[in-house]
Amino acid sequence: MAANLKTAPARPYDVARVRADFPILATTVHGHPLAYLDSAASSQRPRAVLQAIEDYETHSHANVHRGVHALSQAATAAFEGARERVRRFINASSVREVIFVRGTTEGINLVAQSYARPSLRPGDEILISALEHHANIVPWQMVCEQTGAVLKVAPINRRGELEFEAYLKLLSPRTRIVGVAHVSNALGTILPVQRIIEAAHAAGAVVVVDGAQAVPHIPVDVQALGADFYAFSGHKLYGPTGIGVLYGREQLLRAMPPWQGGGDMILTVSFEKTTYNELPYRLEAGTPNISGAVGLAAAMDYVEGLGIEAIAAHEHRLLQQATAELLRIPGIELIGTAAAKASVLSFTMKGVHPHDLGTILDSQGVAVRTGHHCAMPVMTFFGVPATARASFGCYNDESDIAALVRGLNKVREVFG
């Protein structure tokens, strides 16, 4: 899966050096050093990303693909350079397969509206899993309403793993699209995406992967995976908000009608007839988020500099340590105990609502997410209104876990 990536450097992972790259980590919150354990919601940005954006805005900004003047060409070079950077990061076969979008949500909606909506017929089926984020549920429900297609849901077990046999049984000749997360945002489960895709392809379905939670933790090679579409967000990968990527196989993208109309996506416009631009521009109407793309490219440089496998190994150590320490605290129940997990520790504490837990942790400088994590069906499945979720990034270390444990003991003290 990692064929396109350099192997992790042999030197030990220097988390202190990594932390120093992230200026925001020096913040104090309510008088405590920040323990940022909410990277699954949005990661922080290293100085290299902030600097790349500032350099671009300071020296190179103009509109792209338009002007003959120097700045426009510099901006175009920066933007298209970022596209090539993304292509390499996910090993797409061509930059024509890299569509810049606002984020994962927009990427999935683009597939739903531009690929699924024109091609689905009443009775066709879209198959998703029971652990999906709302962004991989609602766009399909919308397209079902628009086309008469039917949404099917493959179940998960109590550990939060996909029931693979049940998934296979739900695949049918009517299945046109399979939508699945690579990593669950609420549970941390890593899904066997390659096997899911193989089975879907055997059934003649096209697969859309929600990669938002995967790209920061797993080397992603879209060709090795066999993904037809793969969407992810910049801001969970140490890049800016408002920029994300939809990868699509060129053959599929070429057949898709434009999603939004406007500038940049056309070749010629007259009131009688408009001809559309080539890929990828045909699917990118309007002036794009240029500095966002530049920032995302810098984030990918940064991540590959650390080595994504080295980051993943570091996070895995933290996850194991945090899991062991939390289980020692009375009343803690883990939600999501899959054998294959990345970065996410979702839990509840008996007798304490996650919202109260979040407030008390915040008062101690510990940032965790509390709520339904945009995965209400997952909460319903586990019979909880909400969970608290600690999630790890490349910059977390043992001090963050210690702060979390201290904070949770404070919760017990208050609610004693």
Binding site: H353, H355, D356, T359, I360, G371, P385, V414
Partner: protein, 147 residues
């Protein structure tokens, strides 16, 4: 920001042992309140005798602030007439949202909620029950949401 201002003993006690917890059957009015942000959900039941709130109960699940606020609310409004309850609502709302608002003596135990103001993310937890009560007192049954 002081944690002990938010989680006062009275709040914790009403969270652990909510008063007037349960349902009222017809012909009581009821309304469902929902905070989609945190999943809090509660139903408020009111039995009116003329203008008087003869009985008030609530049920549902929520955080300590929303549970305690609902419990304190039912104690405070039971037996009062609509006009008095309306005035109380305004006072509680001011206490929870207006900088420098001081609890009036007439608020009684509800004054324990004054610490919530320092935690803006939690104000909706405390106001949910009051919005729901308002909906129950309105025409017919209703659902309210904090978002």
């Amino acid at each position: 920001m002081q944690l002990q201002d938010l989680y006062r003993d009275l709040i914790l006690d009403h969270n652990r042992h909510p008063r007037n917890f349960g349902r009222l059957g017809a012909p009581a009015r009821q309304a469902l309140g929902h905070n989609p942000l945190c999943g809090d959900q509660l139903t408020v039941f009111v039995r009116l005798e003329g203008e008087k709130l003869a009985d008030v109960r609530f049920e549902g699940s929520g955080c300590a602030i929303s549970t305690a606020s609902a419990s304190l609310m039912t104690e405070a409004v039971k037996g009062k007439d609509r006009a008095t309850v309306g005035a109380l609502y305004d006072q509680v709302h001011a206490l929870l949202t207006e900088d420098g608002a001081q609890p009036d003596a007439s608020l009684g135990k509800l004054a324990a909620l004054s610490g919530v103001r320092e935690f803006p993310a939690r104000v909706k937890c405390a106001t949910l029950c009051w919005h729901t009560l308002n909906a129950a007192l309105g025409e017919g049954s209703a659902t309210v949401s904090t978002e």
